[in-house]
């Protein structure tokens, strides 16, 4: 239908892409590599191109390695499939990103191209490409990532806020806890032992949420407690300023600005504490 395909002159319009997938049977188990050859249809006008998730779905239906050995379907997590929820985040050809928005035409445009899939390395693996992100929720709780309201008083008509103020907070609220910024960060390390979580570096996503909640009219109430955490072990001072986080954020959240802002807030908080006591 499209001239692109005619030019290629391939009747079947398909190419073969080799997937190298890092597999693991469960927490603490050794990992291994398995390879799959997946037929990928070339895109034609209006029909769209395959992406990594559709290839994983193909593998689930045909779980046979290139050696012809039948194996189990590859496990991966996903939710919305439209880059809104962040569940399908993994490392693709060395880059952390959502697999639902990784098009085969961009990551493996030619016949015989290879695609390497690995789980994120900063979280414990549940199975294959499926990781356990509980620590992220623990850290959001650690910084008190909520607005303290107990429901005992009438909220009334609510506060007025200008569109400009709203826009500023809007950007920060787009975080979907996907984990890309943590994977890319050299200071954020795998911490399988839950007991260590409250001392380990929280990473950019959580620092940015600290800023976000400290900007909220009622959320400010807990600003001091948040800054106590941020100035303690694993807080903002553990940031090594590599700035990888902001480069990989799929929502283009200004993470380094957030780190700068929370850094300043903690400094002021500490000075104030030094002179005026708690």
């Amino acid at each position: 239908m499209s001239s692109k395909n005619d030019a290629k002159g391939k009747a079947a319009n398909t190419r073969t892409v080799r997937f190298n997938i890092k597999r693991c049977d469960g927490p603490g188990q050794p990992s291994r590599w398995e390879r799959f050859d997946v037929p990928v249809q070339s895109s034609s006008a209006g029909s769209g191109s395959a992406n990594v998730i559709s290839c994983l779905q193909w593998i689930a239906a045909n779980p046979v390695t290139i050696e012809g050995r039948k194996t189990t379907p590859v496990s991966f997590d996903c939710g919305c499939l439209e880059e809104v929820c962040g569940a399908c985040t993994m490392v693709i050809n060395g880059q952390v990103r959502q697999s639902c928005s990784c098009l085969m035409d961009s990551c493996a445009p030619n016949d015989g191209d290879e695609v390497t899939l690995e789980p994120m390395s900063k979280f414990p693996v549940n199975r294959d490409l499926f990781v356990d992100r509980s620590r992220l929720f623990n850290d959001l709780e650690r910084i008190r990532g909520w607005v303290p309201i107990d429901g005992t008083y009438d909220l009334g008509a609510g506060p007025r806020e200008t569109p400009e103020q709203q826009q500023q907070r809007y950007k920060l609220s787009e975080c979907m806890s996907c984990g890309c910024c943590l994977e890319a960060c050299p200071q954020y390390t795998l911490e399988p032992d839950e007991k260590e979580w409250d001392h380990a570096f929280v990473g950019a996503a959580v620092i940015s949420q600290t800023r976000y909640f400290n900007m909220h009219a009622t959320g400010k109430e807990l600003a001091k407690q948040r800054l106590d955490v941020m100035s303690g072990p694993g807080g903002v001072s553990d940031c090594g300023n590599a700035q990888n986080c902001v480069k990989v954020c799929p929502k283009e959240i200004p993470l380094t600005e957030s780190i700068g802002s929370v850094g300043r807030q903690t400094t002021i908080h500490k000075i104030r504490e030094f002179f005026m006591g708690r």
Partner: protein, 605 residues
């Protein structure tokens, strides 16, 4: 095989599902200091609610001060063709505003008016601008806010767990039994009150905008526990979803594309919507493409192009083209906005400006540039109006101690749902369900768990792993989805639905002997086998209810009865499990509205 081991947990209120409704119910229950557990199939914050875009309807009157709850009530009832539970429609219209303000107080960022109030937008079927929204990602903001707010309330979350069955103590619930998807261990949750908040049934169909979690679990759990389901024939289909690649099949393509001049064409290049314009709309529809274009660019004297006829009609026309062999290569039709380059210079920039998220969606997920190429689209299963029959006030089902809220509950939307009414549904009735579940749990503590019931449930769940040579559950599921799409989908008729009911029975036998290789630890094949039982229950319910309603109303269209029929105007369709285990269908009269509500309907029409 020995006796399966179970890990036991105890809660006063157990919530199944962690989307908007489940989280709101959990927050409400936990705020009373009660011990709450939440079981969910995916990770916290990844539930289907995140995909909602448009907004949540609440008559706050920030943009048009003529709006109030009475207008919202009348709009909702009209949209539902008066089959709604009027008490739920009233409560929803009265309380939605409070729930929006509450979300804002908890940290949600709504778009603002110039003078700093929450901005509200227009939406189909709502008389005034009513949808509070956060860009086009209102659902994500709702989930994020509820998750952040719930995270510190001492709620116990069980993520990546599947519930197999509700446990009973005589005629009331005693808890639930399920397993964790990671290890495959069995768990018992002992709880006097259970809230179902599991969402919809979209995965019963081949093409759906719903996420993989939407396998009708709550519907089926309730049904097997003895509860009634209501209005299952009403399934909303959206005319335009993506069809290719497979991973995006079903994802919504907004009506805005057609609003900006997008046209539908079949494989022969024909604008087929001009071929079937209902008489009722003849004088409101453009007579030729030229007039349609003038309407798009704002000519007040021109009539709208036929692509903008009602959603259900457009969906049916697309189905006809596909069925008659004029579809696109992947089973859709073409939606073309790029053609407007014939009409304007810099059309590419114009499309990107007017439809930024659609441009992004096709570019990002399918590699299609909609400013240059046509999109391939087809109707997609979007929402189930029907569900667990609940009491309008308390949200309790017909089983004692079993509550339901959100999409899994029936009543608010009647025969069709207005856009924007589902997000507000989640928080209004999530709160009420949480509140009343606490009340019930406090007055009915300490149910008794019957361990023989638990053992037989666990053994039955393990059977597919112990068999070999049976059908693959994936295979059975795919056939069910194909059949529902073809025979109980957008256009229905008696003979096809009867075939579907027989087909479901035969697939049920296949499912009962399905086999799965591998073990219990994170085994997607096994999970599919478990979900399949639920899909079969909801599919049968949809087919039987649809067969019984011999008319076309709201989202339900019958080729053999294409008009509304007074005889069906005032009853709901109820199904429940009969004494012999077979599904019983029953018509039930809708109770008369109290005068203060019927007066509103009279006044607003």
């Amino acid at each position: 095989m020995g006796t399966p081991q179970c890990i036991t947990h105890e809660h006063q209120v157990l919530i199944i599902g962690a989307g908007g409704a489940g989280l709101r119910a959990a927050i409400e229950a936990a705020s009373t200091g009660i011990n709450v557990g939440v079981v969910c199939k995916s990770l916290l914050g990844k539930a289907h609610t995140v995909m909602a875009e448009g907004g949540m309807a609440a008559s706050m009157g920030n943009v048009d001060d003529r709006d109030n709850w009475r207008v919202h009530f009348a709009d909702t009832m009209r949209g539902g063709q008066y089959l709604n539970n009027w008490r739920m429609a009233e409560i929803h219209a009265r309380q939605a505003g409070d729930r929006v303000r509450e979300l804002e107080a908890w940290g949600a960022i709504f778009d603002r008016t110039r003078d700093g109030k929450i901005l509200q937008r227009n939406f189909g079927g709502h008389k005034y601008p009513r949808l509070a929204h956060v860009g086009d990602r209102t659902g994500l903001e709702m989930i994020r806010t509820l998750q952040d707010h719930g995270i510190h309330q001492g709620i116990e979350f069980y993520m990546e767990f599947t519930v197999l069955e509700i446990l009973m103590d005589g005629d009331r619930v005693a808890g639930a039994v399920g397993y964790d998807r990671e290890k495959g261990r069995f768990h018992i949750w002992k709880a006097p009150a259970i809230v179902l908040a599991t969402g919809g049934i979209g995965r019963a169909f081949k093409i759906t905008s719903n996420s993989w979690e939407y396998t009708g679990d709550g519907h089926a759990l309730a049904y097997r526990a003895g509860a009634e389901l209501k209005d299952m024939e009403f399934v909303q289909f959206h005319p335009t979803g993506m069809v290719w690649p497979p991973s995006v099949r079903g994802i919504l393509v907004t009506e805005g594309v057609r609003g900006e001049g997008g046209v539908l064409r079949n494989s022969q290049g024909r604008r087929f919507m001009f071929d079937d314009i209902p008489d009722l709309y003849k004088n409101q529809t453009a007579s030729d493409p030229e007039e349609g274009w003038r309407y798009v660019i704002g000519d007040k004297d021109a009539q709208r192009p036929p692509e903008l006829l009602t959603r259900d009609h457009v969906a049916r026309c697309i189905v006809r083209e596909i069925r008659e062999g004029r579809g696109s290569p992947h089973g859709g039709v073409y939606l073309d906005i790029a053609w407007i380059k014939e009409k304007m210079r810099n059309s590419e920039a114009h499309i990107r400006k007017k439809l930024p998220s659609m441009y992004h969606q096709f570019k990002q997920l399918a590699g299609v540039d909609i400013t240059k190429d046509a999109m391939e689209v087809g109707p997609t299963t979007h929402y189930a109006m029907g569900g667990v029959n609940v009491d309008g006030q308390t949200q309790m089902s017909t089983v004692k101690g079993l509550f339901a809220c959100g999409e899994v509950a029936a009543g608010l939307h009647g025969a069709n749902r207005l856009g924007g009414n589902s997000l507000s549904d989640l928080v209004v009735f999530g709160k009420l369900a949480g509140e009343h579940a606490v009340e019930w749990a406090k007055s009915h503590p300490n149910p008794t768990i019957d361990s023989s019931q638990v053992q037989s449930i666990c053994r039955a769940a393990l059977e597919p792993l112990e068999r070999s040579g049976g059908e693959s559950p994936y295979e059975v599921q795919a056939r069910l989805q194909d059949m529902m799409q073809d025979k109980v989908g957008i256009v229905r008729k008696e003979s096809e639905m009867a075939e579907a009911i027989e087909g479901i029975a035969s697939l049920r036998r296949k499912a009962a002997s399905a086999s799965v290789p591998g073990n219990i630890e994170y085994n997607p094949g096994w999970h599919t086998a478990v979900d399949l039982h639920n899909l079969l229950v909801v599919s049968e319910a949809v087919a039987r209810c649809a067969l019984d309603r011999k008319e076309s109303r709201g989202a339900h269209f019958r080729d053999d009865y294409p008009a509304k029929d007074e005889a069906h105007a005032s009853h709901n369709t109820i199904v429940y499990r009969g004494a012999d285990g077979a599904m019983v269908v029953e018509r039930r009269e809708i109770p008369a509205m109290p005068k203060e509500l019927s007066d509103i309907i009279k006044e607003m029409g």
